[in-house]
Amino acid sequence: MSANTNILEVEKVNKSFHDPVTVPVLRDVSFSVRHGEFVSITGKSGCGKSTLLYILSTMDTDYQGDVVIDGERTQGLSGERLAAIRNEKIGFVFQFHYLLPEFSVLHNVMLPGLKLGRKSAAEVEADAMARLKELEMADQAGKMANQLSGGQKQRVAIARALINDPLIIMGDEPTGNLDKRNAEIVFGIFQHIASEHKRSLLIVTHDPDFAARTDRNIVMDDGRIVG
């Protein structure tokens, strides 16, 4: 895959909320993300940046326009297929950590890999341990997810996002709920993923420092891309 391949293409995406009155939230949003590119989206609260991210993640299917992930147009695909795309090609990191408290740290990381079913359980486990080691969380692997601190949880969530070697990692304010030191660690990890693993990243943030240090910053205002 060459560095110029577009992993994600967004073509004239429009979306409105209809309750109680029709309010447009996204207007003709178009951009693309190249292979290995670290892109951030910033903008004021309510400018539609999170809404855009959830459309790109395939979880929100109520929009007009085209979203093409790795050459595949997602508009109109079945729920099963979209779930498979999320599983295989997209890694997710949320503001809140969203680990499954019933499962161990290791198992949390393994779940998407087991779902993909491309490798045996033992291989997925080895992969998950490798990811955790990379993020310096290997010693916590046996703990239950709810025994970790916020920064640790976010690192586990990143390990989970990486387990299937996705083409793109999407994050919705992944450092928004962390202190300065942990935010710094997470940013370092993202940079490492982009430069070493050659994965694309698309991170929504309201932190201007974070945005300034990414490869490209998309600024949104009132549903449009303004810079």
Binding site: S57, G79, L99, G117, N164
Partner: protein, 417 residues
Amino acid sequence: MKLLLSIALTLLRAKLRQSIVAAVGVMFSITMFVALLGFMNGLNDLLDGLILNRTPHVRLYNELQASPKQPMQVADGDTTKHHFVRSVKPKDDLPRLRNAEAIMQAMERDPRVMAVSPRLVAQVFFNVGTVDLNGQVNGIDVVQEIRYYRFADYLTQGDPHDLATGNNTIVLGKGLADMMAAGIGETVQVTTATGDRALLRVVGIFQSGIADYDKVQCYANIKTVQKLLARPGSYYTDINLKLHDLTAAPAMAKELAARFKVDAVDVQSANAQFETGSDVRSIISYAVGVVLLIVAGFGIYNILNMMIYEKLDAIAILKATGFSGSDVRRIFLLLSMIIGLVGGVTGLLGGFTMQTVIDNVPFETAALPTTKTFPIDYNPKYYIIAVSFALLTTWIAGWFPARKAAQVDPVEIIRGK
């Protein structure tokens, strides 16, 4: 599927107490269902057996009746007129079956018939001191009766084979034996309707469970009764048929009555009340069992609904990381089915235990000489019905919450924080 199962099990383990409560609900209802049906049908079989074991499926006999064609009718030839003169009384003829041996041979060749046994019923008086007791001696083919009508089960004393081999032997009904104070080995004097007297040796005491019956009925070898009445070896009053298929009896009775020009009665018309009673008892026990299962189903529905509400985050994250709606639905359906299966299987064990306990509770009554404990029908049918019902109700109870879980919009949950 293995992955979904392991997720379901993990969620189940996290809510172990509630899951156990739901499973216990299922277990309790299955236990009751199995025990109730086993007990009810045991009772049904016992009560039906009281009559049905000893009743032939079709009985051929000859009823004494006034001649249907009176002389006036024959002479006049006009059937539309009403004839008041009816002088011809029943013929001076014993209620014998004509051509009995030929009928028996024909019946033995009939593939629908399991067993053919003749009977010769004679009205007698037992002479006890100065008193004459009314009695009815049934001349039977002892070997056939033991084999097909459980004759031996109803003998409380004595050996039925003595009746088969011995000459001039008799088995008395318990009530009759008590009235005559006759025990085994003693002789009783019998007077027939024609005035002949004979001495018969008592070789057994018979108890049917129906007291009035036991005060009158007694049994003897058919040869003994033929001798008693001074009739030849082909003299029979009844031919009893046992069929392979009980339900064919009414049609067959009609057919045989027309074919042999005899009277025929089938077990269904002779004992209609028993079947009605059995059916009603079965319906009641099924209804109670099904209601119990439905209640258990509501328990599962509630617990799953609560679990889904508590696990909205988990559902959202599963969906975000690549599990589809139908995966999520399967997880919760599996969860419900595990509860149903665990509850169902333990319920079957509980039901079996309860049946065993009931089966060992003493139940002795003079009416039922061979019954010592409460009757139980261990028919595996009830276990299969119970477990299928359990799985069906848990599937339905799980399906609605599972569908709700499948429809959870992850964006709403994730953004809603």
